[in-house]
Symmetry: C2
Subunit: 474 residues, 2 copies
């Protein structure tokens, strides 16, 4: 596979569909102060955490209701104009960039927690609710929502990218945790998928078709997700290893033994150094597992004992405990900020981030060979992993003014993906395809499956106005 070459802003400028003035006028009339085409607002909605430069959308609608989203789509569809959903802007693969021009529909003001059903462990929220906001809202009921993709992302964005994060090893991803949706189709129709029942065989699984569709099949306006009782006991610990291989092999054994560990994160020595600097911590600078255990006190004890024994067998140091909720929060905040710690370790750089996920038995090969290649290439990088899932991220820190660095980073990325696919894995465990992994997607699943995706897209969005140019080109 050849490394992908990303087009210049000028290319997008020349290929974007024009947004008719009639549509701008119609949106202005309909939305008044909820509409803006001021350059500052457009620019704010024209970038995410990816390393891509694309001209901003022509205008922004700040939706406050499902009807607002519906009206936006209805008007946009009359003018065959792209509509790009925007949550908090934390996507990593250019999901919200207006690569074909169009209108950004910002749902961040749709941030109401609509109904908490504590006795059924479900909650229904608007798409602009963030994961931290959601957890605040359900805490007093003794519940929590486990999915945490680092950033304080919106539940809408997390659903659209099929996000996961540190807790997925125990609680699953958005795929397992979204029960039902209200969504607006390309023509502006409002439909519902799923119910609050735990399981169902009622027709096609539209809920899971929408989860991970990156805004290309509909705009989610209500999302019902599962909640979990706050665990009776929580223990978090770090464990240092003298080599990355020892840390990885410990992880593999933890998973293969079926330990229901709640978090199992790996950082290499290099990244620990960046995290220490960024978060003012003094973690030991070696390959390190950050772990958390949930359950009854006795079940947590059982898990800890098993994992300590496995770690010792691989030369792991004694566990260092984060005993209080405050210490735990500090530890996990530092872990979640690893991306920013990495980027800030090289002023002015941008990160090309990888996201492969492989079957657990292949993790050592997938991860260690990728690290070796990065070391040999000499490009600065960070490495963090949701290793309990077989998922890890390399962030190649490139100087955007040195084109050769991007070339090297993309070559490393391509080698890493090729290897993961050979090992039975996926090119993206949780970030999505977006702009950057279209070729990888074809390599992974084959042209036939991608053609099936295209067929579905064309059928549900015949004018290609829902976040066009993502996942695949039409």
């Amino acid at each position: 596979m050849n490394a992908p070459i990303f087009p210049s802003p000028a290319f997008f400028e020349s290929t974007a569909r024009a947004v008719p003035v009639e549509l701008i006028q119609a949106l202005q009339d309909r939305f008044g102060a909820q509409f803006s085409n001021a350059m500052a607002v457009r620019l704010q909605h024209g970038r995410d955490e990816s390393a891509f430069d694309v001209p901003p959308p022509a205008a922004v609608v700040f939706a406050q209701s499902t009807q607002d989203v519906s009206d936006t789509l209805r008007l946009a569809s009359q003018y065959a104009t792209p509509v790009i959903p925007f949550g908090v802007g934390s996507s990593l693969e250019g999901h919200l960039l207006a690569v074909q021009g169009g209108i950004s529909v910002d749902v961040s003001r749709m941030n109401a927690v609509l109904s908490i059903n504590a006795e059924d462990l479900t909650v229904t929220v608007q798409p602009g609710v963030t994961r931290k906001q959601l957890n605040e809202a359900v805490k007093s009921a003794g519940l929590f929502f486990p999915i945490d993709p680092g950033a304080d992302a919106s539940i809408g964005g997390m659903s659209a990218t099929r996000a996961s994060g540190t807790n997925a090893v125990r609680y699953g991803t958005m795929r397992e945790n979204v029960l039902a949706l209200q969504l607006v189709t390309a023509s502006g129709e409002i439909i519902r998928t799923g119910t609050r029942a735990k399981k169902s065989s009622a027709g096609y699984d539209l809920t899971r078709l929408m989860v991970g569709s990156e805004g290309t099949l509909g705009v989610m306006t209500e999302i019902t997700v599962k909640l979990y009782p706050l665990p009776e006991a929580v223990m978090a610990a770090t464990c240092s290893f003298s080599s990355l291989a020892d840390a990885v092999n410990t992880t593999i054994e933890i998973i293969q033994l079926g330990v229901p560990i709640a978090r199992c994160e790996l950082l290499d020595a290099n990244t620990i150094r960046m995290v220490n600097q960024h978060s003012k911590l003094t973690l030991r600078e070696g390959a390190m597992l950050l772990m958390e255990f949930h359950g009854s006190p006795s079940s947590v004890q059982e898990q800890v004992q098993t994992v300590q024994t496995l770690a010792q067998d691989h030369g792991g140091a004694a566990f260092e405990w984060a005993n209080t909720p405050e210490e735990r929060t500090r530890l996990w905040t530092a872990r979640h900020n690893a991306y920013f710690a990495g980027v800030q370790s090289r002023p002015g750089c941008r990160a090309i981030t990888t996201d492969t996920c492989v079957p657990i038995s292949k993790l050592a090969q997938a991860l260690l060979d990728s690290v070796t290649e990065a070391e040999e290439a000499g490009l600065p990088y960070f490495m963090v992993g949701h290793v309990g899932d077989g998922n890890f991220h390399m962030g190649y820190l490139i100087d955007p003014l040195v084109p050769q660095e991007r070339v090297v980073a993309e070559r490393l990325n391509t080698q890493l993906v090729d290897r993961a696919l050979r090992l039975g894995g996926t090119c993206t465990g949780e970030h999505g395809v977006g702009l950057h992994k279209m070729d990888f997607l074809v390599s992974e699943t084959g042209a036939g499956a991608v053609d099936m995706m295209r067929t579905i897209k064309r059928a549900l969005d015949p004018q290609n106005i829902l976040n066009p140019g993502k996942i695949f080109t039409l």
Copy 2:
């Protein structure tokens, strides 16, 4: 909602698409002894466990490979002729009935376990492998596959209906347990979806779109599912209650407390009587919970203690233990045979089976009101429930020669579904829509969502040849 009226065999006879003799000839030429249009073979492939009478398919192809399935579809698509996949024939909603005529493609000879990846807890099988066969194949690796819909169904059929069963309360359904597929499209193309990675954000979730699509979007030819380590400790027990309400309320509290119970099944006194007679058991004839606990010895002890306390609070009798593997097998076999026990309790009858699933907090209302209505109607019935999931089945035992009994059963069914939908539930937890729940599906999800399903179906199967007339009419 009006009770559905099921058409007569003569109606289907008059509306079925004719199967061209050229296609019969082409299939005969291609498949030789793997092809049959003998009436006995056709009849065997023209009935399932539903209560519907429909003329049989025109012929049967016994596929032995993915290529066989592909060639069947390629030829059938040339003649716009329906193709209906057949596993073991245990579907309950008429899924494999040739309501528009056509060819049955029997995949029961595609019954190879292709690869067991014990270290990743995955296995890839052909669609004709049955759940018992799969469990035999992985037992020596210390693993098991938990989904068990009563019948020894094929993994293909279970995937197609999004099946679950007694273990779903802990291990999820086919939705959560299918990782990847190979499938044949309407035109005969062979494609792959998913990988062996535990999670992925790589484009549309075609795997989960196919799971539960009842053979209407493609024919599965390879299925990769998750496996689980055989639990270190297993304990099974029964507990009798003086009322159905007490048993249901105990269940609700077990689930709301987050006890990771592996099985939590309810049978009413009436059904216990039928099961005792059928399976030569002496279970106490009252409302009864059948439970199983999996985990480490200490975790199982913890679960049992919690559940015993909850049961006692509701007047439950002391647990009666099934201590040996043989006793457990006997207990669960009896549970799995409850359907047959019910049907055999009234010689010559057929069962109209319901399958609603509601949020756990609504289970008491959904279940108890349905039982009261059945009692009042005076029709014989059985009642079994995967109550830990909020899912239960009423089987109304009708005399097929007394049309009025069918009318009463359908009225009860409709009242029961209406109630479940009002309570936020689904019309089908695990059996699928098939022929019988099309109106219920529209009531549940709305015309907009069903139209979206139709749009997907038309796009992927423009000639409507893949198991047509199921889930919705086009």
